[in-house]
Symmetry: D2
Subunit: 156 residues, 4 copies
């Protein structure tokens, strides 16, 4: 793995609380029981406990639910590097499903690959964790857009 | 739009009931309130009513929820052409988000582009419907795999 | 096929000559012998005659050569709708290969799905034509960005 | 970067010569002047020197040419792990373009993420190298299929 790896410097020192507040406004994350598990410059992790309410027809977590957590992890990874006056939208993502999404816990991680003024590219991984073993269940590549002048939070 | 358009002939005449039963086993579709709205050879439609429980941080339906319904629509479109003894898995999909997913109703449609013995390729669209107007909100391209000898339904 | 299909109105009436001049500046298109075969608002077609110089290891046209013509077709489809003062860059594309790329002729077509001020989304198809039969060999979904204030042509 | 990283064990000890012979049969690689620069289990690198004959309209290497080398790098990375009796086809790939492809040399690298009996998933990177500096210019995610019983080389 030899991606460029300059350390990322956030434009807004309050990036982590900005991510936490935005995550808390997502009804969809609450509905599936997802939890914000880590926020660093250019990085975000989201955890999920598989339940029958999140299953597809064979009992594994639905590919779309896997997409929900890794799209959000990638989106917030990018958002950590945005100025406070911008919000983030997903332009597109591509997701490969590599193994059944099951186990005690799913961990979705988003990593910024390139952060530009308008567009940001991230990659994402989802691992299933069970009895101390991690299995890679999904791989994502994503494009984000920064909406400058449109802060994420509604004005008070 | 000039895609090849031979009419598809299902291998299993009971394809529609097979899709309905499989859809009914998906806890995730019930959790988000999605409804199977149409099944034809090489085609499937799924509808969803936006609610705050499905929202991202700006109040629109989460991109991952959009992914859930269009991934399922594409998967079942492919599955209509499978023999009764096979089940379907998503290998990968790519989703572009084109407009905010909001309105009275979202309609996800999956269309088979090419159905092979092992791999099937579909395309998908999600439209938002509001006051009689339809807006294209997402566009998908997807690869499926047929798991031969592994019927979708658990043995009774 | 039910994509939104408003007729596209080009911002620049000279869009077709702009596309032709830009295509003529592409050394890569000359190297592979690609020919501009059609330009309409929101649409572009590029043709290619398969030769051993374009082949992968089994003698079919290389997937990357297929990508070259359909990426260009999609890019110019988007570019037809740009103002004369903007140029076009590919942000990303996703390509499914559906059948061996061989025959008398390959025809790549790009169709604009949504044209925005900054981002444009297109879809693309590549058909092989042989003895009067057309076979779909590849399917693409693409995101473009308009570089405003950077005309495609070098200043004279 | 925390992808699963078991060392890969090739099924065929002659994997490297198999890759070299296959690469040598690709007319397309010769046409663009690409060179096989490294082959290891689950890994392949291909180099290319930018020339005007490979350029798009602004003088950078065409996105499709970038796709050619990274698609081949990913394909051969997967092929290193195949048995001698199988050949490799690209099912699909998705490519993000991150920076202009220019400089003294482009280096495309393919990395196997998951190698299965039928499907293999890889990721790819393309760096531009100039005056000792490396810039990431493209990021790929790819699905391959193994064609068992169809060796890559034509029977003598």
């Amino acid at each position: 793995m030899k991606l460029d790896s300059r350390p990322f410097v956030p434009a807004d020192p309050a990036f982590a609380s900005r991510v936490r507040e935005s995550f808390a406004r997502q009804g969809a994350m609450a509905t599936i029981g997802a939890r914000l598990a880590g926020v660093e410059p250019g990085y975000c992790a989201i955890e999920l406990v598989p339940t029958p309410a999140l299953a597809q027809q064979h009992g594994y977590v639905h590919a779309g639910v896997v997409a929900m957590i890794v799209d959000s992890a990638g989106g917030y990874a990018g958002y950590t590097l945005f100025p406070a006056t911008a919000s983030v939208l997903t332009v597109e993502f591509k997701l490969n499903l590599l193994a059944p999404a099951q186990g005690e816990r799913l961990i979705a991680e988003g990593f910024v690959v390139k952060s530009g003024r308008t567009l940001t590219v991230t990659r994402g991984e989802v691992h299933a964790q069970s009895a101390g073993r991690r299995t890679l269940v999904a791989l994502m590549q994503q494009t984000l857009i920064a909406m400058h002048g449109k802060p994420d939070a509604p004005a008070a």
